[in-house]
Structures are given as C-alpha cells and as structure tokens.
C-alpha cells in the first residue's frame, strides 16, 4: 500500500499534475490558490520543467496556449478574477482545439468580492466563459484525494478530446488537509499529438494551430466538429457519485465543497430515518443529465445546494424528469456565510416534511 500523506488540497492538485507528466506551469499569484504556483516553482525546476510567474493572467493563459501547441502537458491556475482575464485565451484554445489544464480555486464575487469559498463561477465554467460558443471540460473535486485524481483525469480527457479542461474548486477543497494516497500515473493509451508544432523537421505539411476560419462554410463545419465532440463527451465521460439514491424520497444535489458539507447533512437525515440521498456531479461539463433524469423517475424532489445564489440548479431543472420538483438552497459566498451541515439539514427537513 502506498503511504498515506497528510496534504493540503492545492498541494495535492500540484502533485497530481506533476505525476500526470505536466512540466510547464504559467501563472500569476492570487489568493486562495497560491500554494499551487509555490509548489510548482519549487518542484518543476528540479525535474527539468519550466515555471513562469507571468506578468498577468492574460499572459499566463497565452503561455499555456503556446506550450500546449507544442504538444506537452501544461497548466495554469488562478482564482475567479484571474479566471475572468483568462477567458480570452481559453476561447482561443477551445477554437484551436488545444488541450491544457486551467485550475480555478474559486473565490467570491462579483468584482473583487472576497476570498471566501464560492461556487459562483459555475456558469462561467460550464457555459463557455469566453466568446464564441464553446465548452470546456469541468471537473469538481470534493476531497484532497480527488484534487489529485481528477487533475490526472483532466489532463487525460483534455488530451483525448483536444478540449481545455478546468478543475473548479474553492478554498474549502484547496485549503483543507486530508489523507492522500498518491499513485502512479498510467497513460490510458492516448493518441499521439501529431498535430503539434515542432518545426517542420522534414514534414511536407506545416503544422498550424489556429482558430481563424474564413473560407465559405469552414467555420460552421469547425463549430459542428467541436459540438460533435461535446456530444461524445456527454455520452462517454459523465462522472457522478450517487449516495443512497435507491429508496430516496428527497435527493440532495451539490458539487465540490457544498457536496462535502451536504454529505454530513444527508447522514444526519438518515440517522433520524429520513430517506434522503445525494447525487454529486463530478463532471460539471459534461453534466450528468441522464443520472438526474433516471433518479427523478422514482424520486420527485430534488434540493440543490450551492455556494451561490443559484446556478447549477438551472442545469438540474433541465435534466430532471418533468414531474420532479427542484428546490434551491443557495448561499451567496462571503465572510461568515459558509453553510454548515446543520443548516443544510434544516433545509432537508423543510422539504422532506412537505412530502408527507
């Protein structure tokens, strides 16, 4: 058995990235994710990698674009205001079919907001974020172990589909320490990146990484190709966790840190005999639409818990069986506004008691 380490979430993410073969990091400091660039600046030079503290978030996402165009695994990390700045580059990466990892250890907003744990960047993450009608892969870890595991998965999915991937966390999963069992990365047989630039080096054809398509019908075809990939993602790559859904009369749904807090609330409900289950999306894009549809064929009530004023709830409503009722417990983030399991339990009681 591998040794159990006691590690902070942000450090686990950085460890997972390096284990997955990422050797290039570009970023700009911002709370509450600075452990990630600090870890990378310490470790990457020791293993032949490159760390650049860029002049801005804009520069760092474009350095990622450049590195990724060369076919290597590379990443950037930031927090909400910085991720807004990166949206331009993310759109270009999506349009240029470039993989790459973007980490958002989300803080509260809008504007400068605060540094408290937040899930208010859900829309920005799953609906495209930048201009032009695209999606990126979005994974939401809810534990330190998942910060490690899902980072590896994010690189794999990103490379396989040539779509940028995002880890969407917050200061709870980023600052929390838990046991981590590191394990070796195994390449799941990904195709070679023969599209990358390298200098022609004897090749007859140029490698061109671009998102500009001006010929008649070219851009439409390019968009349809990208959207076909998103469809395949929905078909093959959805991941979620279901806890005691079989007999549930009320399903609590939440992702990331809100799911962690909700787990205890669901346990409290079960302890007093309430039939409550938990459905936790792990991939926020592709969203587990079918899982919600199926679970709500037998359970007609869903309580969506979010650290925002209600965002994922819209995707839940679009996904559930038409007869299901969806309720929201949205807590906009800020100092002293982090919900406790007890508070969520109160909400569970409220909607559960209404059933009978």
């Amino acid at each position: 058995m591998n040794k159990r380490l006691f590690v902070k979430g942000n450090d686990a993410l950085a460890m997972g990235a390096i284990e997955a073969g990422c050797r290039y990091y570009f970023g700009y400091p911002i709370t509450p994710q600075s452990e990630i660039p600090e870890y990378m600046s310490r470790e990457l030079p020791r293993i032949g990698g490159e760390f650049i503290q860029a002049e801005s978030e804009i520069a760092s996402i474009n350095m990622l674009l450049g590195a990724s165009a060369c076919g290597v695994r590379a990443m950037t990390s930031s927090s909400s205001p910085g991720i807004s700045l990166k949206q331009e580059g993310i759109s270009y990466m999506a349009g240029s079919e470039l993989p790459g990892l973007i980490v958002n250890i989300c803080r509260s907003g809008p504007g400068l907001g605060g540094i408290d744990a937040s899930q208010a960047d859900y829309f920005q993450a799953v609906k495209g974020g930048g201009h032009g009608g695209y999606h990126i892969i979005v994974l939401a870890p809810h534990s330190v172990q998942e910060m490690y595991d899902l980072t590896m998965l994010a690189f794999d999915l990103s490379d396989l589909y040539r779509i940028p991937a995002m880890i969407l966390g917050d200061s709870v999963v980023g600052q929390m320490k838990e046991a981590l069992v590191p394990h070796s990365y195994r390449n799941p047989g990904l195709p070679s990146k023969n599209w990358a630039v390298s200098g022609k080096g004897g090749r007859k054809e140029q490698s061109i990484i671009k998102s500009l398509y001006l010929g008649d019908g070219e851009l439409e075809a390019h968009n349809l190709k990208l959207h076909e990939r998103y469809r395949i993602l929905k078909e093959k790559e959805v991941r979620y966790e279901g806890v005691e859904l079989e007999d549930a009369r009320l399903i609590v749904t939440a992702f990331g840190s809100a799911a962690r807090i909700s787990k205890t609330a669901v346990r409290m409900a079960r302890e007093v005999g309430m039939q409550v289950g938990l459905l936790r999306p792990i991939t926020l894009y592709p969203f587990p639409e079918q899982a919600f549809r199926k679970a709500t064929e037998t359970c007609g009530r869903v309580l969506c818990v979010e650290l925002n004023a209600g965002q994922m709830v819209e995707d839940v409503r679009l996904s559930v069986h038409r007869d299901a009722e969806v309720f929201l417990y949205g807590r906009p983030p800020g100092a002293g506004s982090q919900p406790t399991p007890e508070e969520i339990f109160e909400q569970i009681k409220k909607y559960y008691e209404a059933i009978s």
Binding site: R23, Y24, F26, G48, E50, I52, A54, E55, S56, I58, A59, S60, N62, M63, L64, L65, G66, A67, S68, A69, C70, G71, V72, A74, E88, G89, Y92, S96, P191, S192, K193, N194, W195, A196, V197, S198, G199, K200, G201, G202, R203, K204, E205, Q206, S207, I208, I209, K210, S211, L212
Partner: protein, 269 residues
C-alpha cells in the same frame, strides 16, 4: 570551361509560391521576404515556428512554409514564450503590427523582452490599424488623419506616437533592438541585414531580439503606392529614426540551450 549560371533572383525557400492578399504598395510582402531570406540564410526552416498575430499579418501560415501558432490579439510574445520554453532549440519568431504590439499587447511585449526570452520579434509599424480599416494606432503621427482621428491626432488628448524600439532598448533583458525601413533599395538591404542579425541572435542563443520595420499602408493612408512609399521617408523616419538602439549580441554570448523533449510527439507523414 563551363560557367554555371546562378539565378540572380529567386523566391526564398521558406516563402510559399502564392499570391499575397496584401494591397498594392503594402510593404508586408517585402518584409515577409526579408524574414524568409533570414530563415533560409541560417537554414532553419525545418526548425522554425512562427507566431502569428491579429491584423493584416494573421495569415502568416499562408505565406511562410513553417509551423505556425496563431495568437490572440497582442499576445504573440506570451504564446512565443510558451513555445520557446518547451522547444528550446527551435527558432521562434513573432510578426506583429503596431496595434497588436504597441497597444493591446504592450504588457506582453515588455515582459517577454524583460525576461530576455530567446525569441525574435518583427514589428511592423505603419502608423495605422490596417485590417480594421485605418483607425488611429499608438504609432499614428501627430496631426495624422485616420478614421478615428478625423481631425488629426491631437497629442493633447491622444498622446504621442510610441517609439517601441527605443522603449525596449532600455530593458536589460533585451539583446538587440533596432528600427529599419523598406522604402528604398538601400533601406531594404539594411533592413535585410538587420533582420538577419535578429535571427542570428536567436540562432546563437544570445537572447531577445527586436526589429521595428517602418511600413507603408497606401490603402488606409489614402495614397497611391508611390506617394505612400514617399511618406515613410518624409514623415515617419523623422519621428521614428532608423538605427540600432541596443546591441549586446557580442556581450550576450551563447546561452545554454536545453534539449527539446519531443519523444511524446508522433510522426506526421
């Protein structure tokens, strides 16, 4: 005795045999050729990666027969940084216009220069936004009329044209910074040598090299080709003097270049 006749004029190998989309009298074609000649001179076509910017120069890959990455507007030096840090033994150049480099991309160019990234930057200054239809650029001359300075550039409210070659020359990270023009045969020859030197800087691992090229934009200036060409010497050069503003190539020496890690790449047929 047989005499082998060499052609006196031929297309550089790294320039594709295609017609350009550039307007008649535009200097981009000349500058493209000078860059291609430099690439041929050092025989680096097979290991060169161009970074295209946004503007008239976006179609870089259409003219240069090298690998190309397209960058968002102004971000070419950051993209080139990412490429060069991965592929340390490749030759990486950006080709940017004045809106791209001197307005929206000032942050990226200054910091790439300041870090001394081992790239070559070709900066085409034609005092206007070409592709978007002749708007005021950061390099637009005082009193110059453009579509967004219809009464002439008012330096009181719009500031003065930025001299990028001089600006970058004060940064310690910069090895070579110069300004050239391509409005006369003599200037073209000088420009060719200077661009070659900027590539040599990279070939020798000596650091960041920058060449600003004064260029005509007849269409947006509302002039015919000859008049536009004349304007470069008459109006631009007095404000943007030609010359080398920093040359530390002798001092810089050879920086260590790491091996590129390319084992992960599949072969393309």
């Amino acid at each position: 005795m047989t005499t082998v006749l060499k052609p006196a004029f031929q297309r550089p190998v790294s320039l594709k045999d295609v017609q350009t989309h550039f307007c008649p009298g535009c200097h981009h074609g000349t500058i493209h050729r000078l860059v291609a000649e430099a690439i041929d001179h050092f025989d680096i076509q097979e290991r060169t990666i161009g970074v295209a910017s946004v503007g008239c120069s976006v179609f870089l890959y259409g003219y240069f027969d090298v690998d190309v990455v397209e960058a968002p507007h102004g971000r070419a030096p950051a993209v080139a940084t990412g490429v060069k840090r991965v592929l340390k033994d490749r030759m990486v150049f950006t080709y940017q216009g004045d809106g791209d480099l001197a307005a929206i991309g000032t942050s990226e160019i200054i910091h790439a220069a300041n870090r001394g990234e081992g790239i070559t930057v070709i900066f085409v200054n034609n005092t206007t936004y070409g592709m978007t239809g002749g708007q005021m650029a950061p390099t637009t001359l005082p009193e110059q009329v453009t579509t967004t300075s219809p009464y002439g550039r008012n330096v009181g409210s719009e500031g003065y044209p930025i001299r990028m070659a001089e600006l970058l020359s004060i940064l310690e990270g910069v090895t070579f910074s110069a300004r050239v023009a391509v409005d006369s045969p003599r200037h073209v020859l000088e420009a060719g040598k200077t661009i070659r030197k900027a590539f040599q800087c990279q070939v020798e691992g000596a650091g960041f090299a920058f060449v600003e090229v004064l260029s005509a934009c007849p269409t947006n200036w509302g002039m015919n080709s000859l008049k536009a060409n004349e304007r470069v010497g008459r109006e631009m050069i007095p404000y943007f003097p030609l010359g080398v503003f920093r040359d530390h190539t002798a001092k810089a020496g050879k920086k260590p270049q790491g091996e590129s890690k390319l084992s992960h790449l599949g072969k393309k047929s």
